[in-house]
Symmetry: C2
Subunit: 349 residues, 2 copies
């Protein structure tokens, strides 16, 4: 052993560098990417342990665990990016179960040649979103695949939250007579992404609503005694999510079209794109359902929150063994709100 051992290669170039296959090979380059990027931006007492898994305190009780892979295209869009979205999406899945989100994992699949400057921007955005939501990114993984075997970057996050004692929410708990609320305008995320993807021919100015809902859900859990269930209507939109709940609870629903909040700009873009806002993805909206006696309380809590200012009571649960979701239109008619069949918006999240 005569030659001096080099502990480090040249620093990773986050300005003009590209993802190389060896960043995913588990050797020195992988270690460098981790230390110079992920460990730097995500740093916290759990991630910094540096072992194969993160050691996490856990109070006695129950956990909620949820996961989402994110493949949105384009990766940067008005109002967000794949990084923040990957935090919001999983934080929300944990939060709507009534839990306080605590810990996130982050698994990256990178395409060879992906600009490191974009990766850095995405990682910064994730770190910021995690901080805002009050969650820790505690463990992670990076894989690199050859050019043409991915589309830049895919991110999986898995979230773990703590369920406060006695809290029980489920899509199967709704009863006839219950009231359905939505926390604000629907369709923003889907339209923001789609309008960036296709040449709309006009400016939409629609921004994604991508946001972490856990502050709002915590207030609802505490303040609405008869809260039955919460859901974030992402892929498949409000229409599909309500159908899922109706099936789970073995009930029907009646919505009032006039009360469903949709921005004019979203309405216009949907018309242009041939989309129905009811089926367009949201990433910062909440459906909440409770008994009629708590409906005004639920609405008030939503409207007090910055993310729920345009909240509305949009309908009610009814007895219906067919689990139909119906909508009373402005003209006194009734139309069916079916599940989304086929594919309205691919790779929206």
């Amino acid at each position: 052993m005569t030659s001096e051992k080099k502990h480090y290669q040249r620093p990773v170039n986050f300005k003009t560098g590209k993802v190389e296959m060896n960043f995913g090979a588990g050797g020195k380059a992988s270690a460098q990417l981790i230390s110079e990027l992920f460990a730097k931006y995500f740093s916290n007492e759990y991630l910094d342990q540096g072992d194969d898994g993160a050691r996490l305190p856990c109070p006695e009780g129950e956990l909620i665990m949820a996961t989402d892979s994110h493949v949105v295209s384009p990766i940067f869009f008005a109002g967000g990016d794949i990084g923040a979205l990957s935090v919001h999406g999983t934080v929300n899945d944990v939060a709507v179960c009534g839990a306080v989100p605590k810990y996130l994992s982050a698994g990256f699949i990178l395409e060879e040649g992906f600009p490191l400057s974009d990766l850095k921007r995405i990682v910064e955005s994730m770190a910021e979103a995690a901080k805002e939501a009050g969650v820790y990114i505690v463990t992670g993984d990076t894989k690199v695949v050859e050019r043409g075997k991915a589309d830049g970057i895919y991110i999986n996050t898995c979230g773990v939250g703590v369920l406060p004692k006695g809290v029980r929410l489920s899509g199967s708990f709704c009863k006839p007579g219950d009231v359905i609320a939505i926390s604000g305008d629907i369709g923003d995320h889907g339209v923001a992404v789609m309008s960036q993807r296709v040449n709309l021919g006009f400016e939409t100015n629609v921004e994604s609503d991508s946001a972490s809902l856990n502050r709002l859900t915590e207030k609802l859990v505490k303040g609405v005694p008869s809260l039955r269930c919460m859901r974030d209507p992402t892929r498949g939109g409000l229409g599909t999510t309500l159908n899922e709940i109706a099936s789970q609870s073995n009930i029907g629903m009646v919505l009032e079209e006039d009360r469903i909040p949709v921005k004019e700009s979203v309405e216009a873009a949907c018309e242009f794109l041939g989309l129905d806002p009811l089926y367009v993805a949201n990433e910062g909206k909440l459906i909440a359902i409770c008994a009629a006696e708590d409906a005004e309380k639920m609405l008030a809590i939503m409207r007090e929150d910055p993310l729920g200012q345009n909240a509305q009571l949009i309908g009610r649960c009814i007895e219906d063994e067919n689990h139909f979701v119906q909508m009373e239109t402005g003209f006194g008619g009734v139309r069916m709100v079916d599940w989304l069949t086929g594919e309205q918006l691919p790779r929206i999240c």
Copy 2:
């Protein structure tokens, strides 16, 4: 509302069908794929709750959380497949931290056109691996990307385990004088995958060692009082993993080449492929390090386990502020075992 609502489309064809974009769109087709495949094979009391996150019992104390994305190519290889591997890999990351793995999430990224028969085979294999390891797949997610934006299937798993009271293991706990054990022959997984990928020109008969190590790790945690750390040497192999531990613990290591178990067939294949078995990935092998006084006990526990029959004590920790890992060769020389630099085997896990 006059027409009868169809609740279900035709059944998913798992014999000759292909993944279609609408399987990932969050509508009826997504729901069908989930109910007819994932929910069916992974079914357990937690997954069956059917909400956005799974509600999980958790004893007071500490959790271990770890994640891995799997992009192995080919997806089926001698001794395993991407499905079983995605369970083994994450179970092992949790187990080597000293925890009892309990819950897994599963996030699928599918390429449009991927054969559903292959997907079914992979899901069955995951279900089987989870059952063997005694873990539950409690929550999941499926995304579909267009042809040419993935390579058939990528799977992320995240694992949560419970750390028994008082157990503290870390790659930073090793001390000079400690003894290093490996649970068996190295390099099997990498060679099995590579020999399937390239035309080797001869039969290797090497099978991947892909397996869940949590039974063995539980025995070591209970039976080896001075256990400092455990690791599974996957990407980067034994050489890189030992370098990581040496750095974390601020020590050096001396290995004895003659004691490192490598199958002759693996040795031959590595020679042919220009690989060093020290850097070839394992998916069912364990490094364990403890104080010298417990070394024989550690070895005996390993050898009693079906997955540790060829376990060996391969070296010791020494004082070295440079964190060098050295290897005494059969001829009385010493060579450096550096970190893997660059990329030895892409997409090996």
